[in-house]
């Protein structure tokens, strides 16, 4: 499955400054829960504690699935689909 990860609001700093990564997912990554772990293991460059907490993202990180708040899409249980765009936005950076 091909999806796109985007990072914004300072989140990109944990991913080597990349704002967008096109990703080919292995077949065992099917939900947002899987994707967060996969992203942490394969793409995160530093300080995992600033990205994940337990099996989810750290509170204060906003997640959008195809431009909609993931709270409307089932959060961790969301079943990924081909061409999904997943955005992680940090709100914890200074304002």
């Amino acid at each position: 499955m091909n999806i796109e990860l985007q990072f914004s609001g300072g989140m990109e700093l944990l991913f080597d400054g990349q704002r967008s990564i096109k990703v080919v997912l292995p077949s065992n990554v099917t939900t947002m829960r899987d994707l967060i772990a996969h992203t942490k293991d394969h793409y995160l460059k530093e300080r995992p504690e600033l990205f994940v907490q337990g099996d989810s993202v750290r509170p204060g990180i906003l997640v959008l699935i195809n431009d909609a708040d993931w709270e409307l899409e089932g959060e961790l249980e969301y079943e990924l689909a081909e061409k999904d765009v997943i955005v992680f936005i940090s709100t914890l950076h200074g304002g």
Partner: protein, 355 residues
């Protein structure tokens, strides 16, 4: 597809943290802007003709603030004369980059901009200060200097009012860092709130009130010593909505944490607040309202004590508010905090501790 509960037409794109409502982008922009308009008008923050400086750091809050103030001033004809005021702390790779963002905002929103630097005001940039004292107390210096710098910049611009981008999450965080409030929470009904943070009272009053004008001791302050009033139009606006608003509208903001901040990202109270919100959606508003009620009850206690002969009157209340004999800034001591810090810097001493 989930439909927006407000218009019943468009696809819902976010869940509002304040109400739990699922709404579309168009309705989101409308309610977001309208609620800030209501905060401004209900609290009578400004009057027609006021010159208002927007404290602009280039970060998300102040960028959205500049955008919203400009938009509301035009839409509702507040008649405000808006400008941007930025403080350049002199931090290479952090402030110089974020100032570039502010300069773009200046053009995007067509607002005049004043940039005041620590170097210019105090003879010391944060880079120089850190070179001398290291990174242990540098945030103390920065905080004291920034507060004065905003007042001085505002005076230079001749403004009637300063607005800052402090949002509901910021205010709630400050409340949670208050030790006296913690004691009160434990004593009375809200014992289930596991408050574990410390802080000071003056900061609480300053942060929970939507507009602040003087320093801590307002009772005896002569009018000519009043600082320029500061307001927080985002006091009831959630950070999540500010960030999504900026994201959906592709507003141009800068998001790197200060290089010298000891605590990378936000502190523990902030993270705790986010955790609390997960189990109790209304946590942020609950905490703000508790802080407001507490600040009010303290005022009341002081009033009653004063009426009863003021036996236990606090030293700070009777202290005469004056000005710093060196720089003229409002201060209850001979020298203001900035001048005390500067003195230690200029003597080449390590940081003094400031309480």
């Amino acid at each position: 597809m989930k439909l927006c509960v407000l218009c019943n037409t468009n696809r819902a794109q976010l869940k509002r943290p304040k109400t739990g409502q699922q709404i579309c982008k168009t309705c989101f922009y409308a309610v977001f802007e309208y609620e800030i308009h209501c905060t401004i008008t209900e609290n009578k923050l400004f009057k027609r003709g006021d010159k208002v400086a927007i404290a602009a750091s280039g970060g998300k809050d102040s960028t959205v603030l500049a955008h919203t103030m400009k938009l509301l001033n035009d839409r509702y004809d507040y008649g405000l004369d808006l400008c941007l005021l930025s403080i350049d702390e002199g931090i290479k790779g952090y402030r110089d980059d974020s100032l570039e963002t502010v300069k773009r905002n200046q053009l995007q929103y067509n607002l005049p901009l004043l940039v005041l630097s620590y170097e210019e005001l105090y003879g010391w940039s944060m880079d120089k200060i850190v070179a001398q004292i290291g990174t242990k107390n540098n945030c103390t210096f920065c905080g004291v200097f920034r507060r004065q710098a905003l007042d001085r910049g505002a005076a230079r611009l001749g403004v009637d009012h300063i607005v800052t981008g402090h949002n509901a999450d910021d205010v709630a965080e400050t409340v949670l860092m208050n030790r006296k409030l913690l004691v009160l929470f434990q004593k009375f009904t809200l014992t289930h709130f596991p408050l574990v943070f410390r802080g000071d009272f003056a900061r609480l009053t300053r942060c929970t009130s939507i507009t602040t004008q003087t320093l801590e001791t307002s009772a005896t302050t002569a009018p000519e010593h009043l600082t320029i009033p500061r307001s927080k139009p985002f006091k009831y606006t959630y950070e999540k909505e500010i960030v999504l608003y900026a994201y959906f509208l592709s507003l141009d903001y800068f998001s790197t944490e200060c290089t010298y901040s000891v605590e990378a990202y936000r502190g523990y109270a902030r993270v705790f607040l986010k955790d609390l919100e997960k189990v109790r959606a209304s946590a942020i508003m609950d905490v703000i309202h508790s802080g407001e009620a507490y600040a009010q009850s303290l005022d009341e206690i002081e009033r009653v004590e004063a009426e009863n002969g003021g036996k236990k009157k606090k030293k700070t209340v009777v202290q005469k508010q004056g000005t710093c004999e060196r720089c003229g800034y409002i201060s209850s001591n001979k020298l203001c905090k900035a001048c005390v810090l500067l003195e230690s810097l200029n003597k080449g001493l390590p940081a003094v501790s400031l309480e």
